[in-house]
Amino acid sequence: MKRLTLRLGLLLVGFNLAVGLLTFFWTPHDPGAMIGGRLSPPSWTHWAGTDRLGRDFLSQVMVGARIALLVGAGATLLGGAVGISLGVLAAYARRGLDDAFAAALDILIAFPTLLLAMLVVAASETASLGTAILAIGLAMSAIIARLARILTKRVLAQDYVTAARCSGLSWARLTRTHVLPNILPTLAVALAAQFGLAVIAEASLSYLGLGAPPPNASWGTLLQQAQSTVHRAPIGVILPGLALVSLVLGINFLADGLRDLLDPEREGAE
């Protein structure tokens, strides 16, 4: 059962990753080429029909995988790096400083990733893939920082760590030898879950018109464009949505499977 989740996750993510990589070398048609009719229905030449400009829709959805993975992974890396550094540092800080930090994070976390990301996008002159990564990554870092801080404090409270500290171990060394090895597994699971959320956040930003500019056709952008043509070409809202769900579901399964592997005791817990 547990293995099944992990396998299913690997399968779905692997599939999306393979498609995303494949688009660098091959798509059924050039996603930018206006070769078909306007909103033509699925056919042998265009398996998922064409969009308003006569571009092959399947090719666009495939390229969408590339963007979703790129922004998702970029944001997760950024959020993880910033969040873990801040969280661990805060755990070492003096009580007052640490409390203030914890309170600030509590407030930040109450704001959904999307809202924070919207503000970051608004604060940048022009939207790009980079802005989306930055926006989502920064919003995510608050969640990771909070978790990293709590985990680090827990490790620091262990007797053997206290002993090590008393024996004069530098905090950098302490972090490397005791803290990081202990907190990383749990953080990895959290980061995997955040990865899924980041993919959704990217699609939402694009849907709201705050995502990367064309021709970077994110799934959110495709959905937004297809919404008004749903009567004539329902596949336009179905296919990108399914692709999105398959990727996020895969990532979530992967996160669950990972947790079960690392922490078999807590099956099914949050």
Partner: protein
Amino acid sequence: MTRYLLRRSFVLALSLIAAGLALFVLLRLLPGDPAAALLGVGATEAQIAAARAQIGSDLPIPAQFARFMTDLARFDLGESFVTQAPVLPEIGRRLQVTLPLTLAAFLLAILVATPLGILAALWAGDWRGTLLSGFSQLGLAVPVFWIGILLVWVLAVNLRLLPASGFPMRGWEDPAGSFRALILPVLTIALVMSASLMRYVRSAALDVLGSDYLRNARALGASLPEAIRRHALRNGALPVISVLGIELATTLLGAVVVERVFALPGLGSMLLLAIQQRDYPSVQGVLLVSTLMVLLIGFAADVLQRLIDPRLRERGRRPGE
């Protein structure tokens, strides 16, 4: 308890001031000159200078901050650059859409997620449990706007069962119309939200089901439903409440996407428009009010947890720290 309330209120007040400071800094980071945004096309240099004086963006930063905080203390959120109308009443009107939407979706989600989560825990290991977990997994992976688009397509446009979008002109003076307008958006949010709540309920229920006191209660002759009612709900509720607080805040602020799908004149759409129009007073107002609500929700969740759990009343700090 009184002591705790006092202390917690003090923290609340501090957090508000901190949030005000954070917002002040954040808004100064937004690009563009607010005075130019205020005037729009064709403004002369003299007009821009006059506008700067009017909104105070020509003052030194500390003076601007002092002015900002005094205005806040007087509940003066300023006037919109675009409409020239005061921001606070506008927020009030928008909340008449966003609050009912959020609360109804939230309640519905709890009503759906609690029994389903408990069932999923009871059935853990058999196919029914797997099915329920599968549903909740799916709900977590589906973006809320996609559900909205699909629901509109199927229920509103194809089957013509419900209004697809918009909100009645007269608002809640037209209760039937308002109610109908909110059905689809509420369903959309509740679907996604119940999936995520279900996970928490399930894991809390699993913890409780495996706990000693439940086993004791059953050994003493209580039936399983009775034992759940007497002990599990109360104990299981604790971790769920703190999650609920965050979830409620998230829904309230996250309504922006749903409001857009359904063209609802709520707080989220106000913020989106204000960001697009670089309408600083409106952005600031919406953010301040939502921060306030988020903090109040956190406050309520904390107090509620204390009331339910006698153990916490004695301990000084919140769980997990």
